[in-house]
Structure formats: structure tokens, C-alpha cells
């Protein structure tokens, strides 16, 4: 994807932004400006700058290889699953697994990553929960 394609993409977003802003239902009391004008102003600059990117692209960014790209997708999925497993599985276990996968994908050996995951998840739990008293996700087992 070069800058031009991104410009087209952001132009579409900008237009839909303005469209959605225009759907805002007005309340019967309002100030002289109302809730729509400011988004319209932002949308205007959004559109102008998108058009500039389309007309005058600057560089061709270097995108990662397909393999690396899939890896980024994979990590994204891991993080999303982690976010949603926190309330049920609890902090310690889900953090252990997420840290393990992250450091493994960043180049640690499987055993190293596993030990590291254990260390990180228990240290953070101890430090933030026991020492600092921060509320971490509890999950069904309470930790």
C-alpha cells in the first residue's frame, strides 16, 4: 500500500466521518454552533490533507514480507484473545500465556519464553496486586 492508496482510504474515512456527524440528532436547546460544526471543520481538513496525499505522495513505504505481516496479524489476535480472556481466565494464567507467545515470537527459545512468562506474570501480579494494591483481572479462580 503506498501513500496514494492510503490517501484514498483516508478520504473515504473522512467523508464517512462527515456523513456520520451529520446524522447527529439535534437537541431542542442548542448553542449557536451546535454539535455538528466542529466535526465538519475537522472533516474539511481531513479531506484536504487526504487529497494532498493522493496528489503528492512522498515516499513508498517498505512493507514487511507476507510472513512478517502474518506474524503481526497473529500477534494482534493473541492480544485480542488476551484482552477478552482476562475477565474469565484471570490475570496470572492469561498473562503467562500471552507473555510466552510474545517473547517466543520475538526470538526467545520455547523453554526460555516459558520461564520468562512465568517470571513476568508472577512478578507483575505480586508487584501490582500485593505491593501496590492495584486491581488486576480476577477471573473465575480469583487470580
Amino acid at each position: 500500500m503506498n501513500e496514494r492508496i492510503f490517501g484514498i482510504f483516508s478520504l473515504i474515512i473522512a467523508c464517512s466521518y462527515i456523513y456520520v456527524a451529520s446524522l447527529t440528532q439535534l437537541s431542542f436547546i442548542s448553542d449557536p454552533v451546535g454539535p455538528k460544526i466542529f466535526p465538519y471543520m475537522i472533516g474539511f481538513f481531513f479531506i484536504i490533507s487526504s487529497i494532498f496525499l493522493i496528489i503528492k505522495p512522498e515516499l513508498n513505504p517498505k512493507w514487511p514480507s507476507l510472513y512478517r505481516f502474518l506474524e503481526i496479524v497473529f500477534i494482534t489476535i493473541v492480544l485480542i484473545v488476551y484482552a477478552y480472556s482476562l475477565p474469565t481466565v484471570g490475570f496470572v494464567i492469561s498473562t503467562l500465556i500471552a507473555t510466552f507467545i510474545l517473547s517466543w515470537r520475538l526470538g526467545a527459545k520455547i523453554l526460555e519464553a516459558l520461564i520468562f512468562g512465568l517470571v513476568v506474570s508472577f512478578t507483575i501480579y505480586f508487584l501490582f496486586h500485593n505491593v501496590l494494591g492495584l486491581s488486576l483481572a480476577e477471573g473465575i479462580w480469583g487470580f
Binding site: F6, V33, P35, F38, L59, E71, P87
Partner: protein, 507 residues
């Protein structure tokens, strides 16, 4: 004299056991964040805000913690610049020019000590400057009404990136994204839901802390995943530091350098949209022009490492002036610090100085204290940080990720917020690939609501007459600075960028 009695009160705020501990932790963490290539002051502060918020620290304590991180990172950035020729953060780029050649000559220890001293000097000048200048600027700020504030916010965006940014389209695009995000949620003035797609999660708007942590911490993870092989090979070099203490004559030689560079850096920092990178750039180029008589710059001249370090530390302090007294940040890190204050329901500006003097003066006192701590951390104990430099990303990044998750989850306990954070992380990654700056996005999401509120207040006063925005003398001046700040970089930006590249390719 009034200033000193305020400062004494400040010391009584700063010198509680809790705040001293926080300053110590902040200095240490800050130096670590600064030293690690790829993480800088903005990342460090971003990761710690949600934590300090969840811990229930009061505003003065959080500010002390985060500002110590900020100052610490400005010190720490030089370590990797000097030792492995990779700037630890952006402002430390200029330090590589003479710092790494010194290392090649076996003078790494001396370079670290000299830059430590100049960082200290710069930060001291800036903190004193902050102490005297901020209250004066507050007096001017009292003249500001909603119209002037709106103009001021526009100025903050128009001047972002300083003189070196010549692609204004990208800055505007990034600002529009950030401001767009801020308009999501129930409209504060009329109470109607706006751009919320009927989703309850969006009614309260998107917390800017989520945007900040996503952009500054999570996007970093994706960058590392993408570049992992390259990084692992680079870290193979071993780091040797021999002699730490330079000769006294060398220290005396750099005193005028430190003095000049600190003053230049401070003013660069106070200027809208400039920040620490510009401070170190100006300090280095001017110093080179003055002192490069024997063509020693770029080959390991001591003044060439002292100048940018004094410059960037002093600019970092200078950048706090407009943030505290006007509520208008000029750089990424000060924007994040502003976000922290706003999360605590504190609006910077004249009201902050009047209603929460403990925050302002406690902060200033803590900065003085932090400076001495940092001097000790960064000269006698610098070896400890050079070990941290060798911490490979495979261990570093998962820690960053988990702390980000803990912080954001701690605020709301909502998985949806984490999902949003991941989304902003991905968005940040794409924007960075396209060379679109992230700071305007962050600033937009932080300042958007204030900007709109001021605009609508101004319009309510004038009963819908838009020319009101340009009526007072103060606002005319601000609009003119805005115009200049927007146009000048288009003319000179290319030249300055070429110059930086020239300096870089020479080294």
C-alpha cells in the same frame, strides 16, 4: 522573593517520603526508557500514566513521578547514542555525531560523564527558567478568553513538529484523526450522542489514555515484531567503559558551551511546537559554528557532545513552560503530561497556579531534586544502565505490552478498552510506516474537547458571529504566529532536514 516562598512550599510538598520515593523510581525508570533504543520519554510517560492513575496517586505525586521519568529519559537517551551509535530517543540523535567517535577513541566513559554534567547543567538552567518564566506567562494567560484559547490550540497544531516538518499535509491528517477521535461520544454541551454508532461503549467517548498507550506502547510492539531479525544482530557488540573521570581542563573547556547551549535549548523548548529535538539541533549547530576552528567536530570533540545534551535537557524543561502556564503542549511528551493532569481534572493555565500551587511548585521542587538524583545515577552509576541496554527486545517488549494492558485494564476493567488500545496500536503502526507523525493524533485526542468547548463558548458570547475569533489584539497576534509557524517550515524545513542528513551521513 515571592517565588522563593512558593518554592519553599514546593519543597515541603516534594519532600514527603512518598514523593521522594516516586522521584527516585521515576528517575531510574526514566533513564532506562531513555537508554533503551526505540523507547523514549513519551513511551515511558505513556505507559506509566494509567498505572499512576489506577494507584490513586494525587496530582502532585503523579506529576512528580512522571516528570522525573521525563527528565530521566532526557539523560538516558545519550547512553546508547554514545555507546552504540543508536540514539536512545529522538533528541539524542545529535549526540551520536561526536559521542560515538569518542567511544571509538576509547573515551566512552569520559563522554558519558561530560554529557551527564551538561545534561545536569541544561536541566538546572531550564528548571530555574521554568520557575521564573511560567508565573509571568500565567499573567499574560489571564488576558485570554475562549476566542484566544481557541486560537492558541490551533497554533499548537499548526506549529507542531517545529521547523523540521515540511510535510504539513501529514501533520494535518494526523491532527484530524486525533481531533476526530475526540468528537466521539455524547456532546458535552447539548447532551446528544454523536458519532457513537449507537454503541454504549462509545457514549463516554474514547479515553485519550487509551489512544496514548495504544499509539506509544502497543505500536512499538508491532514495530519490533516486524524488525526482529535486524535488531538481534546489532546487539552483538560488547560495551567497554574504561576511564570515567575526564581531566578538569576538559570540564572547564565545556563550561561556555554548556552555558550557551542551555540558554538556546531553553528558548527552543518554550517556543510553540519545538521541543527537545530542536533544542539539541540548534545547540549543536550553533556550537559547531562558534567552536569548530580546528575542524574537530564530528570526530569526537567534547564540546560536540556537551552542546546537544545541554540543549535537549534544557529544552525539555522549557517545554514545560507553555504546558503548565497555558495548557498548550508543544511536544509529544508534554502532551502526555497534560493528559495526565486532565485525567486528574486539573486544567493547566492560570487556574492551576491559583488553585493547585502545590502541583506546580511541588513539581518544580521535585525537578530540582530529580536533577541531583539523575546526576548520581548517570555518572557514578552509569555502568548499570549500559547493562540494561543489552536487554534484548524479546524480553523487553513483552514487559512493555503487559504493563500497558495492566494500566488500561486497571482504569476501567473493560476488555473493550483493551481492544480499542490494540486498534490504536495497529493504527499507530500503519501511520508510522507511512511516516505520518503520531504526536498530532495524541494531541488531537487530548485537546479536541477543550478546543471545541472554547470555540462554542466564544460563539455563544458573540451570538454566532465568527469574526469574533479575530477581534482582540491578543488573538490577532496568536493567529499571526500560527500563520508564520505554519508557513516558515514549508520554506526552511527542507533546508534544515538536508542539513541534519548531511551531518548524519558524515558521522
Amino acid at each position: 522573593m515571592e517565588t522563593f516562598s512558593f518554592l519553599l512550599d514546593g519543597f515541603s510538598v516534594a519532600f514527603t517520603l512518598q514523593n521522594i520515593t516516586l522521584a527516585l523510581i521515576g528517575c531510574f525508570l526514566g533513564t532506562v526508557f531513555g537508554a533503551l533504543p526505540g523507547l523514549g520519554p513519551a513511551n515511558g510517560v505513556a505507559i506509566l500514566i494509567p498505572i499512576s492513575f489506577s494507584l490513586g496517586l494525587d496530582a502532585a505525586s503523579s506529576m512528580i513521578l512522571l516528570a522525573s521519568v521525563y527528565y530521566g529519559a532526557m539523560y538516558g537517551g545519550r547512553i546508547s547514542s554514545i555507546l552504540i551509535n543508536i540514539p536512545g530517543d529522538e533528541p539524542a540523535l545529535m549526540t551520536t555525531l561526536d559521542g560515538y567517535p569518542m567511544t571509538l577513541k576509547g573515551r566512552a566513559g569520559e563522554a558519558l560523564t561530560l554529557t551527564g554534567i551538561s545534561s545536569f547543567f541544561g536541566a538546572m538552567v531550564a528548571t530555574v527558567g521554568l520557575m521564573f518564566l511560567a508565573p509571568q506567562l500565567v499573567k499574560i494567560a489571564l488576558l485570554f478568553g475562549p476566542a484566544e484559547y481557541f486560537a492558541l490550540f490551533v497554533m499548537a497544531f499548526a506549529t507542531l513538529g517545529g521547523v523540521s516538518s515540511n510535510n504539513k499535509a501529514k501533520t494535518i491528517l494526523a491532527s484530524a484523526i486525533g481531533l476526530g477521535v475526540s468528537t466521539i461520544g455524547v456532546d458535552g454541551q447539548t447532551g446528544v450522542p454523536r458519532l457513537s454508532f449507537g454503541n454504549v461503549h462509545f457514549y463516554d467517548g474514547i479515553d485519550f489514555l487509551i489512544v496514548i498507550v495504544g499509539m506509544f506502547a502497543v505500536s512499538e510492539i508491532f514495530i519490533f515484531i516486524e524488525n526482529k531479525k535486524i535488531d538481534n544482530d546489532k546487539d552483538k557488540k560488547s560495551i567497554i567503559i574504561n576511564k570515567i573521570l575526564p581531566k578538569l581542563s576538559i570540564i572547564i573547556k565545556i563550561i561556555p558551551t554548556m552555558f550557551r547551549s542551555s540558554l538556546l535549548g531553553f528558548f527552543a523548548g518554550v517556543l510553540p511546537g519545538a521541543g527537545a529535538s530542536l533544542g539539541s539541533f540548534i545547540a549543536y549547530t550553533i556550537e559547531k559554528r562558534i567552536s569548530n576552528k580546528d575542524d574537530t567536530f564530528g570526530k569526537g570533540d567534547e564540546r560536540g557532545v556537551a552542546a546537544p545534551e545541554a540543549g535537549n535537557n534544557s529544552a525539555a524543561g522549557g517545554a514545560l513552560v507553555p504546558m503548565l502556564s497555558l495548557g498548550v503542549p508543544g511536544s509529544g511528551t508534554t502532551a502526555v503530561l497534560l493528559a495526565m493532569l486532565m485525567t486528574m481534572n486539573i486544567t493547566p493555565g492560570p487556574l492551576l497556579f491559583k488553585n493547585n500551587p502545590d502541583v506546580v511548585w511541588g513539581l518544580i521542587a521535585a525537578l530540582f531534586f530529580a536533577n541531583f538524583v539523575l546526576l548520581i545515577l548517570n555518572i557514578p552509576m552509569v555502568r548499570m544502565f549500559t547493562k540494561i541496554l543489552l536487554l534484548p527486545p524479546k524480553y523487553l517488549m513483552p514487559i512493555v505490552a503487559m504493563i500497558s494492558f495492566v494500566g488500561i485494564y486497571g482504569i476501567s476493567g473493560s476488555s473493550f478498552d483493551l481492544l480499542l488500545m490494540i486498534f490504536f496500536g495497529l493504527l499507530g503502526w500503519v501511520l508510522r510506516k507511512l511516516n505520518i507523525p503520531l504526536v498530532p493524533v495524541i494531541m488531537g485526542s487530548i485537546l479536541g474537547n477543550l478546543m471545541e468547548t472554547n470555540l462554542r463558548r466564544a460563539m455563544t458570547i458573540s451570538d454566532g458571529d465568527w469574526s469574533y475569533l479575530f477581534q482582540s489584539n491578543v488573538s490577532i497576534v496568536i493567529w499571526m504566529i500560527t500563520l508564520l509557524g505554519f508557513v516558515l517550515p514549508l520554506i526552511f524545513g527542507k533546508k534544515i532536514k538536508d542539513q541534519i542528513n548531511k551531518l548524519k551521513s558524515k558521522s
